[in-house]
Every structure is written in C-alpha cells, then in structure tokens.
Amino acid sequence: MGRLSVNLCGIELDNPVIPASGTFGYGWEFAELYDINILGSFSCKGTTREPRFGNPTPRIADCPAGMLNAVGLQNPGVDRVIDTELPKLARVFHKPVMANVSGFSLEEYAETCARLDREPQVGWLEVNISCPNVHGGGMSFGTDCGQAAAVVRAVKAVTTKPVLIKLTPNVTDVVSVARACEDAGADGISLINTLLGMRMDLKTRKPVLANTMGGYSGPGVFPVALRMVWQVAHAVKIPVVGMGGVSSAEDVLEMLMAGAAAVEVGAANLVDPWACKRIIEDLPAAMDRYGIRTLTELKIEN
C-alpha cells in the first residue's frame, strides 16, 4: 500500500485522484497525452440508455473562476459504450473505472446500470441524479429524498458492484438527500455536481447559452463543494467522493480533510489537460509541507 493510496468501497486506489465525468471523455484524448494509468481511476462520460446529441450550442460560457456548461449528456448510448468505448479504453487503462449513468426514468437507470454492472472493467457505478442540463430527468431525481431513494433501490436491485450516487448542490438540504440514499442502500455518495447558473450576452441581450441555464463549475465552486462534502461526510457512514473546483494537490488534501474518501477533478482538466497528472505528482510534496505521512492516516484522523 503506497503513501497516496486510498480505499473506495473496498477497491484500493493508488491515489485519490479521479477525473470527473464529462471532463475526460472515455479517456482516449488524455491517453494520447500521458499514461492515464497513473490516475486513481476515472469516471467515464455520463451514459444513458439511448444515444443523445445533447443541447443546442452554444453550450459553454466562461465565468469568473470557472465556466458554465449545458452539454446535456451527449453520449453514444450504453450499447455503443459497451461495444466500442470500453474495449477501446481497456487498451489504454488497466484499472477499474467508474461508469457514470444518467436516466429519465427508474427503469432506464436500472437497465443502463445493470448492463454496465456486467462489464469487467467497471469498478463502481456512479449514478448521476443531479444533471442540471436535461429536462424531465437528471436533477429532478436528486432534489427529492423519495425520488433519490427510489433510484438507489431500483439500481441496487439489479447490480452487484458498489453504487455511488452523485448529488446536486441545487437543493436546500443536501444532507437529507444523502441520508435518504444511504438508507436506501447506496454504497457511497459523490458530490457536488455543478451549480445551476447563467450568463447574459451584453450585445444580444440574450442568455449566452442556447439552453439559457447551465452548470457552473471550476475553482469558484470549491468552497461550496467543500462545505457540502463536510456536511455529508459527517452525516453518513458510507464513503463520500468529493468534487467541485478541485485544481491542486492542496485542494485534494482539503477535500480529504473534510471527510472525502477520494476526490474527483473536473473543469481543471479542460483548461489544463495535464491537470490530474500535475496534481498527483504534486501530492507528496504538499503532504510533506503539512506533515501528512499517508493519506489513509489522514482519513482515519478525520
């Protein structure tokens, strides 16, 4: 067991750094840049039962300390992911991956998860009940304790692998949603998804995004994310994966100190394609500076 290793739902990770879903595709673009086997794991692009093109463009807007996206879950659908993307990924990544799943009904969540659960390389299912960019699904499941619990039960009934539920920050009380997921049998929680936001185009006097609103992510959300990770980690017994604006080794340490078992890195990958590599390489020196011998030790202290 190395100095940086952590455990997530019984699976050992070499380090806690996991690129977040939607910022790393299916790994291929980054495998051309560096050996992605240095990662703890990574969370694949959000997958739905049917293929989706997503929202009309513009889907992206720059913001102070971050960005908005309204991609709307563009993905080739679970059939293509299983037939093409996962075999392609297996050539360049040799560790368990997180399969990120979205849906528009309980049946769809269950069906997509059941199929991905059978894929040998899938280590965890990360069930997204928090996408702010799709209508009639996504976030609506994550803003209601009863709906969230229903998704957990539907998925747990048809899967064998650890199920993480990805929560939205766009709620009054994130702790109650996390508790509802835990009570329904979730194996872990990941948070936060993006904060709902928007920008106006001063010249056209219209919203910049074709979808009007989008999800805000980047360093600007880090304090909000950290606060929610702290709250949830102190309220549930299952592991919490922290994410939201993480851009440096120090941010990773803060997340772990707040109670996260592992940490996802999102927007940072888009402005610095080598962000995760840099963070992993910077971790030992950052740990030295703060007298942290091992990350496991840090977790136990918490």
């Binding site: 939607g22 790393f24 692009k45 463009t57 889907r59 960005m67 991609v71 888009l270 394609p273």
Partner: protein, 244 residues
C-alpha cells in the same frame, strides 16, 4: 498537442479592432494550415481559441478581432510577455484536395487561417485565387500579404468602398478546382450554395477545452456527431448539415 510558453514578439494593429500578434515558441505540434491554438490569459478561466495565420520557424502569427474581455486583454500584451499556448489543435485544411487552381474565400476574421494555407499551396505550385470579404474599406487587411505570395486577390466590401461591391459570392471566378473557406456562418452557407466544386469549410463555435474532452462544440454532420475542436474545425462540403 503541446502546452508551452510563447513569448510575445510584436503586436500590430491592422484595423480598428483587428490585431496581428507574433509569438515565439515551440511550434512543432502545428502540422496543418487551418489548425488553431488555445491561449491561457491571466485571470480568465477558459482558454481562447485563435486560428493559426502564419508560421515561420518558431514564430507563430495570430490575427484576432477584439470582441470581448479575452481578446481585449490579449490586445494589451506587450513584447517580452509570456503566454501559455496549447498548440496543434483541430484537423486543419487538407492541401491535397486543392487540385491545380484552388479558390480561397475568407470573410472578416475568417481570413487569417487562409494565409498559411495560401503559402503552402503556392509553395506546391498551385494557381491560387483569393476572395477577401469585408463590410467596408476600413476593415480590409492582408490584401498586400496575399498578393505578395503570388495569389490572384479580389477584395469585396458590402458597401462597395473597396474592390467589388457586394458579398464574396458576387466575385466568384469562372473556374476553380476546390474551395477552402473560413468566415461567418451565413457566408459559409452562401458559399456552400454557390460552388459546383468540392469545398473545405472552417467553422467557429464557443469551445470549452479545445481538444475534444468536453463536448462543448459538437455539431451534427451527415457522418454523425463531430466536435468542431477535434474532428473540425474544417468540414468537407458533403458532410455539412446546416442547423436551423
């Protein structure tokens, strides 16, 4: 793709809002004309994508229009300042499609990527015709630079204050072997409808990452979904699906 620091060599104002920026650095990842680079500006989160206008060894020339905060900040950069640049992005133009007499059509700040293309085509001995379209005489730039390459240049202005009065499609020559174009989408659409030959069309979209990770700049094509930053920005005429 490569992420390196470039140094500003010079900055020249070409028109009221258009600037020519020359940068020095590692240009080895730029493989084709029509590719773009992604600039990281201090204090701004997302990078700003700008097409490659010219390459001379390790000197990279970019031409951009000040349209917002990022480009405004870029216009204030002075010689000696450092700029982090992701290079080698996008597919770029395929010079092998040109045939003997290619026609290059640029509109406004769609003109710059055609310069390196024209240079490469001239070096390959092609008879290159160029149409440069602008709104008005004060917006015209790089006419002399294209002529110096030995291109047959026609300038069009919407108000007729310089060259042919009208749009780029009002100045199409009688024959040409292939069209390479870049400019605002209505212009691309007009060119698409006007040419009998094959064409390579360069598109612009708001991008997140610029290297294919975020799906921010996707578009629908005849051959499926494509990312403008990765499978584009250049699409072939026969694969284009116009939105709306």
């Amino acid at each position: 793709m490569n992420d390196t620091l470039f140094t500003v060599l010079s900055q020249r104002k070409l028109t009221d809002h258009v600037y020519e920026l020359r940068l020095q650095g590692d240009t080895s990842h730029i493989t084709r004309p029509g590719q773009f680079v992604n600039l990281k500006l201090d204090g701004l989160y997302l990078r700003r994508p700008i097409s490659v206008c010219n390459l001379e060894g390790d000197v990279l020339t970019l031409i951009y229009k000040v349209v917002g905060k990022g480009t405004e900040q870029l216009s204030r950069m002075a010689p000696g300042e450092a700029l982090p640049v992701l290079t080698g992005l996008g597919n770029g133009y395929d010079v092998s499609l040109s045939g003997p007499a290619p026609l290059l059509i640029g509109g406004g700040v769609g003109v710059p990527p055609l310069y390196l293309l024209a240079k490469r085509l001239r070096a390959a001995g092609k008879a290159v015709s160029v149409i440069l379209g602008f709104n008005t005489a004060s917006e015209v730039f790089y006419e002399a630079e294209f002529r110096a390459l030995g291109c047959e240049v026609t300038v069009t202005t919407v108000d007729g204050s310089c060259g042919v009065k009208g749009f780029v499609t009002d100045a199409l020559p009688e024959s040409y072997s292939h069209v390479y174009t870049c400019g605002p989408e209505p212009m691309l659409k007009a060119v698409y409808r006007s040419i009998p030959t094959g064409g390579s069309f360069s598109f612009e979209k708001r991008m997140g990452c610029g290297f294919g990770a975020c799906m921010g700049c996707s578009c629908k094509t005849v051959t499926g979904y494509k990312r403008i930053c990765k499978e584009g920005p250049v699409l072939q005429k026969e694969e284009i699906l116009w939105e709306g």
